[in-house]
């Protein structure tokens, strides 16, 4: 996100600033921490900004005047005044409100006066300033005036805040804050936005031991700060020491009148208001009547100690040693290269025009304003893609689908099916110009009815996304034995049922999606560097989208800033970058903004589930019946559309449930596509089982832990085949459960549960989890250089997992050579010819075992070479601590590096191929870490504990 263009002046006096403000469409720039975000979001596009940061008169913090007050200039930042300490001593309530703003970085730029004027709903400083009776000084070409701060917010419905700033050339110069010692500001912070859900400023003035004046001002509950006169009145004439720290009932505003937003409802905010008002009154009364002992509901519980059990590790092995990661130094110095850090000569930048509607026909795309603009190289639409040699439709796996639906087009084909779907692509000399160009493209839509909810999409009148899929159902599947399950329910003594929503999630790796594509016309070859969890997966998908053989696509993933599944999928961005690179014969970079990352998907989960559990009255589980409607979003990406239908395989979790049946329907909606996100089906299944068990525990009056424990698969039942057809090789769940309960002090926490005097509710929840991991094949290559140092390659790719350290540890143990001599390389589709990638907790199982097997191949070959040199049979060669030897030749030992040299040098036996390396493609399963069982759906799934 970039601001639009504007002119910028930085005057050094107040008069110059006021003169500059007199021109049209000019705004004051103070800290810019509200104005710049507004400009980036195109909520403001002033022609010019007057930066007041260089005006020294506005930086003053002054207590020298005749009044008992602190004067703060308009350029003073929150951090300045907090460090100065004047308010801490003289108006702690205001100090606390300023300290609550945003975070350290925000406070070092944002100004106190800017915050007062901006007055976002939920802003901290305005409420405290109103409670303090602060005054704002405003100057313009005609003179100076001083207004009480609360007059700024007189008209809460006026969108043009603040109401008191009327003239274009008004410059607020300072705010004056009277000394108010008896006051406090408290807030409930929203954990994600960091803003106050509710903030409350309380100021008490006493006279002769009782409260003579009270100001109680809330933020967050309405558009602007709101006084609570009812609460204020109740405080008058009370002795501060008589005010208990407890929830205060507030009738005005009533719960229904409190502001709701997507984060919280009005009634919940009202509850917070009552609770925080009580707490703030208590703190404020302590300040006017210090020394009073009050019962505090805030008695802090000791943080649970983290004495996790240390596993005994084998001191002779590197694997399992707590090494510092070798990757870290580059990250810590900011030197490691991520894709967006790449520079290529003559690189141009790509951005998308995206749909503003969830469902619409595109009537017209008019790019003409964009094409003429400075720096804009091209504007592409579907017609351009269709005229090229490339299909430009992201591949979709049709296996298991009931209809033959098209894949996701790189640019929309006359129809958009979700908000944010790419419609046109703009390429320009730099990203700012590309964004300007994209804004100039005009799209005319004919809006169609959207359907967001998967259950609604099944309704008879729901709009169909695809003509040949009139019911929007793309896949239906079932696991388990329906008859046996029906029987279990017929004979059940107790049945409980729940309806739940596994809500949609947006994967949010900190690094957004990004790609840099280069096309080499002389070889008809693409090199695409991108943030990928699976370079080989991206290679084959890109090849399909571009309509070229896989050998023509080289995919490289530099360091990747988190993935969570999202970066395993193929998206329009990298395809469009590659296509444009060929079209324009220039390197093309595409970097998603955070909001694009949200809008485009792939998102995760979004299941609607009805589940029933049949039990005996003593709690023995007899059957589990589950029906799920899974939102697939608007398009299938790869295998995403059918994915949800396989999720039931983990429903048995750790429990011996004799009969299970799960049926699933995957449904198209006009929302961003859904694909695998963190666990991909496993957390969804576990959530269903664990929730229904909790509901059963409540109904039966059995402790939820006891109910779980009584139904665990007993240790002597393994190998155990669950009712959904998955076989677990081994398990002993009760001791693990005991350890978990002990680690969280379960009994103690249970006793803390219930309602507290400040209105907060507490409880403790427990869930058990069985994982299935490690599917697919994986490649591990171990190459030994002539000097004995080792390069390891794998088809996985770390995006935080630290394979560079882990794989080196594994190979060091296998080859018994120093860990430092081993280098690990990943993320290049040509370094190893095939691979699957890093997701689904599979890397150490797949990639780790593959490199270990390759290391074993190396040792085997090295042993043969050593046998030749020692003149003995290979079976008689021993290897230990990096040396080959034979008991029959006691005085001769060959080091690992000597043998490596022999593998390449002259004088080999001639019977061996030169070189020393191992290259294993491992289909997971088969050795001691996990098992392979063909009965487990497809034969390549393994289950560990």
């Amino acid at each position: 996100m970039f601001p639009p263009q504007f002119e910028y002046v930085q005057p050094d006096s107040i008069d110059q600033a006021i003169a500059a403000l007199a021109s049209d469409d000019t705004r004051v720039l103070a800290g810019g921490h509200s104005l710049l975000p507004a400009m980036k979001a195109r909520n403001a596009s002033p022609e010019s900004l007057v930066d007041i940061g260089d005006i020294s008169a506005l930086h003053r913090i002054d207590r020298d005047g005749p009044e008992n007050e602190t004067v703060i200039g308009a350029a003073v930042t929150d951090a300045d005044i907090l460090a100065d300490g004047s308010l801490k001593r003289n108006a702690p309530m205001v100090h606390e409100a300023i300290a609550a703003v945003g975070d350290r970085q925000i406070r070092s730029r944002g100004t106190v006066v800017g915050n007062l004027l901006q007055a976002d709903a939920g802003a901290d400083i305005p409420a405290a300033m109103v409670a303090a009776d602060a005054m704002l000084t405003i100057r313009n070409g005609e003179g100076e005036r001083t207004v009480p701060v609360d007059e700024l917010y007189e008209d809460p419905d006026n969108d043009h805040h603040p109401a008191a700033i009327t003239n274009g050339d008004d410059l607020a110069t300072e705010v004056r804050i009277p000394d108010v010692t008896g006051g406090a500001y408290l807030r409930k912070t929203h954990p994600a936005t960091g803003y106050a859900l509710v903030g409350i400023a309380v100021r008490l003035v006493t006279d002769g031991g009782t409260i003579a004046k009270a100001r109680v001002v809330a933020t967050g509950i309405e558009r602007t700060p709101r006084r609570l006169p009812g609460v204020e009145e109740r405080l008058i004439d009370k002795a501060p020491s008589s005010l208990p720290d407890q929830t205060v009932r507030i009738a005005d505003p009533e719960p229904a009148a409190v502001r709701a937003d997507p984060n919280v409802s009005g009634p919940y905010r009202h509850q917070l208001l009552e609770s925080y008002t009580g707490q703030a009154i208590a703190v404020a009364s302590d300040r006017v009547a210090p020394g009073v002992v009050r019962m505090s509901s805030e008695s802090r519980e000791a943080a649970p100690t983290d004495d996790s059990v240390e596993e005994a590790s084998d001191p002779t092995r590197v694997a399992g040693m707590p090494l510092k990661r070798r990757e870290d130094e580059g990250f810590l110095r900011g030197e490691t290269t991520f894709t967006d850090d790449l520079k290529r000569p003559n690189c141009a930048h790509l951005t998308f025009v995206r749909s503003e509607h969830a469902h619409a026909a595109i009537e017209d795309i008019d790019p003409k304003d964009a094409v003429g603009r400075d720096g804009v190289l091209a504007v592409y639409t579907w017609n351009d893609l269709a005229a090229s040699s490339s299909p430009c439709v992201l591949p979709i796996s049709t296996g298991g689908l009931e209809h033959d639906v098209p894949g996701h087009p790189v640019l929309a084909q006359n129809r958009v099916r979700y908000h944010g779907q790419p419609i046109a692509a703009v390429v320009a000399e730099d990203p700012y110009l590309a964004r300007d160009g994209a804004e100039a493209v005009e799209v005319t839509y004919k809006v169609r009815e959207p359907v967001i909810d998967a259950v609604e999409a099944l309704g008879p009148d729901a709009p169909a996304l695809y003509e040949d899929t009139p019911d929007n159902v793309i896949a239906t599947a079932a696991v388990g034995d329906e008859r046996a399950t029906t029987r279990a329910f017929e004979h059940a003594e107790v049945v409980v049922d729940i309806s739940l929503r596994n809500n949609r999630l947006i994967p949010s790796a900190l690094e957004p999606r990004v790609a840099m594509a280069v096309y080499d016309a002389s070889r008809d070859r693409f090199t695409v560097e991108l943030a990928s969890q699976s370079v080989h997966g991206h290679r084959s998908k890109l090849a399909k989208t571009l309509g070229v053989p896989e050998r023509s696509v080289h995919v490289v993933a530099p360091a990747v800033g988190g993935g969570f599944g999202h970066k395993g999928h193929h998206h329009p961005g990298e395809a469009m970058a590659a296509w444009s690179a060929r079209e324009l014969d220039r390197p093309i970079k595409w970097t998603a903004t955070r909001s694009e990352n949200y809008r485009e998907g792939a998102h995760g989960r979004d299941h609607h589930t009805d589940a029933e559990l049949a039990l005996d009255s003593d709690g023995t589980m007899r059957g589990l019946r589950v029906k799920t409607i899974a939102n697939a979003g608007a398009y299938g990406l790869g295998g995403s559309a059918g994915m949800a239908t396989r999720y039931g395989g983990l429903l048995s979790s750790e429990y011996a449930i004799p009969a299970i049946h799960c049926s699933t329907r995957a449904v198209f909606t006009t929302t961003a596509p859904i694909h695998s996100y963190r666990g991909a089906g496993r957390p969804e299944a576990i959530y269903v089982t664990e929730r229904v068990i909790d509901v059963a525990a409540r109904k039966l009056g059995i402790d939820p832990i006891s109910l779980r424990r009584a139904n665990l698969i007993p240790p002597d039942a393994f190998p155990y085949e669950t009712a959904v057809g998955v076989t677990y090789d081994s398990g002993d769940y009760a001791p693990a459960l005991d350890r978990a309960l002990e680690a969280i002090d379960y009994e103690e926490r249970r006793e803390l549960g219930g309602e507290r005097s400040d209105g907060r509710l507490r409880g403790v929840g427990v869930a058990c989890y069985t994982e299935s991991t490690g599917g697919g094949h994986e490649t591990g290559v171990v190459r030994v250089h002539p000097d004995g140092s080792v390069a390891v390659y794998a088809g996985t790719h770390s995006h935080g997992q630290g394979h560079g350290t882990t794989y080196a540890q594994l190979v060091a143990d296998e080859l018994e050579i120093p860990y430092e001599d081993i280098d690990v390389n990943e993320g290049d589709s040509e370094e190893v010819p095939t691979g699957t990638g890093t997701f689904g907790s599979r890397s150490t199982i797949g990639g780790g075992n593959a490199v270990v097997q390759s290391a074993q191949t190396v040792l085997k070959k090295a042993r043969t070479l050593a046998a030749n040199r020692l003149g003995v049979d290979p079976n008689d060669v021993r290897y230990g601590s990096g040396e080959f030897f034979a008991p029959s030749v006691p005085d001769q030992r060959l080091s690992f590096s000597e043998v490596a040299g022999m593998a390449y040098g002259w004088g080999g036996s001639g019977t061996h191929r030169a070189g020393l390396g191992g290259h294993d493609v491992l289909r997971t399963g088969g050795d001691g870490v996990h098992f392979r069982d063909p009965r487990n759906r497809g034969g390549d799934r393994s289950h560990n504990r």
């Binding site: 720039l29 975000p37 790796a509 903004t593």
Partner: protein, 160 residues
């Protein structure tokens, strides 16, 4: 639109760039001056990956204009230590306070400011003070450990 020539001292060296008024400091550093230590995670002031010190104060460089930073001195994670890692960087390494590393340069710079201004911090305070930096990988537990460890090292260095 007009362009402005700005001069910044970045990690100790004086640098100039010609920029539009709208060019964000993070892009001045990354695109014009080839310093890619500050990362871009959100471009909206929320994630802290772009945190640098501007005249000794931590700022989110995606919310500062290049022209506003004219004449200032900028410190990035790349300039924090020449030879050995800075004690804060070392502590993050020691405590495994990073996974993918994308948030790390920003988090290190916020920690620098925090420990320059505070010596004694509880774990809750550390979490609250670093709330301007989002890490999607670690869950923060080890970040807090790292900050505690760094605080101890710096304290020992100060008293030596």
């Amino acid at each position: 639109m007009s362009t402005h020539e700005i001069t910044l001292t970045v990690d100790g060296s004086e640098r100039t760039a010609t920029v539009e008024p709208r060019t964000l400091l993070v892009h001045v550093l990354r695109e014009h001056l080839d310093n890619t230590a500050p990362k871009v995670g959100c471009e909206s002031g929320k994630c802290g990956a772009c945190t640098v010190q501007l005249d000794g104060e931590p700022v989110k460089s995606c919310l500062v204009l290049g022209v506003q930073a004219d004449g200032t001195s900028i410190l990035t994670a790349a300039g924090l230590a020449d030879g050995d890692l800075h004690p804060i960087q070392e502590a993050f390494r020691e405590e495994h306070g990073l996974q993918c590393g994308y948030c790390t340069p920003g988090l290190v710079m916020s920690t620098l400011d925090l420990l320059e201004k505070h010596q004694e911090l509880s774990r809750e305070e550390i979490r609250a003070e670093l709330k301007g930096n989002i890490c999607r990988c670690t869950g923060y537990q080890n970040v807090v450990e790292a900050v505690e460890t760094a605080a101890k090292t710096l304290d020992t260095e100060r008293s030596d």
